[in-house]
Symmetry: C2
Subunit: 205 residues, 2 copies
Amino acid sequence: MLRNSSRGRGRPRTFDESEALDKATQIFWSKSYDGVAIDDLIAGMGVGRQSLYSVFGDKRTLFLRVLRTYAERKGAVAAKALFAPPALRDAIAGFLRHAVDVATEEGSVRGCLMVCVAPLVDDTEVRQFLKDAAAGGVALVERRFRDGISAGEIPSDFPVTTRARQVIDLARGLTMHAQLGAPRKTLLADAEEAAELVLLSPRGG
Amino acid sequence: MLRNSSRGRGRPRTFDESEALDKATQIFWSKSYDGVAIDDLIAGMGVGRQSLYSVFGDKRTLFLRVLRTYAERKGAVAAKALFAPPALRDAIAGFLRHAVDVATEEGSVRGCLMVCVAPLVDDTEVRQFLKDAAAGGVALVERRFRDGISAGEIPSDFPVTTRARQVIDLARGLTMHAQLGAPRKTLLADAEEAAELVLLSPRGG
DNA sequence: CGAATTTCTTAGCATTTGGTCCAAAAATCC
DNA sequence: GGATTTTTGGACCAAATGCTAAGAAATTCG
């Protein structure tokens, strides 16, 4: 049943689907769902109106796809930042620095799709996705903390769940500062301080 | 020069200006700037179209006024929560609980105008206002920390500025959790834990 | 080449948008 | 009562919105 493959029968497309998706991400990112008109997408993605609808569905569907792709990609990088360094402290700091990197990427708009844009989309599916994504982030950090306990880097009574949530909260805080224009240098210092904070011993005082 | 006062010459208004403003706050809060149509405001504020424009200016101007009023009011309550309790720990916890209260107010939409709505308004003036407001919040908490040092509740090398910023970040985190639907009870517990975290001694560990 | 298939391009549609205009209504001042 | 002033209510407008329809263009298959 091996058909000759890739190119089907009709007129070939003049755009790359995943490239167009990346462009769409930038557009939503910079103009925030409601602020994006279909014409903005057409102009920015290099896709004709009709093609846009037939390939990506309507605006809402496109946004969901953008969001899912974005989350998957960034999530993978975050996990890497979190689990690659052997030292727990480097891992947490790296994770937070990663948040800063995303939020201050050159050539892109400040902030983050999932923190600064998506929460405002009044849509059940989007909201649920964000909930799940946040929970996933917390779970990831939590697991890293547990590894740290196994390695003897933090005490066994370290409040892993609570602290993991706080790491996510602080990351969001960094992102929002970035959106308001805080310089990258400051943010990176803040990330370091945040890592220090969440690693303090629960008995410290 | 004492004119008879209050009521001027023409036809009396059929609405209360500050009441209408409150209504507008709720509308923007629940539908997020771009999602609000002028007709929504007319219907929700109980003000005719013409009156709306002549009294409050255009949509952007109205939003700015709503934002300023909101910030002033909530800021006053926050300051009270922060400086009324004699114990530093109660003050910080109270401040964070206040954030939860605002974000989970009964009859109102989840979240907070300044955290969940305003950041997405692509407007220089709004952005600047948010920057200033955030800086103001940090300064407030910072001052409270200093009082705590004077009172001997925390060591004199306590990193007041850093920790104050982190308090604000954590408050924002609580607000965003609230927006995503976290139950109030959970949030209040989180607030308590956040207070505990930021009060840990910098040497703890 | 001609039929079939897919994509592209242009035009168009109904609705909604933010905002203005103007005459009628309701009050005060003389 | 009549002039003045302010607010009201509704009609109105140009522009933008999300989306659909229909035919032309470009490719593969026989």
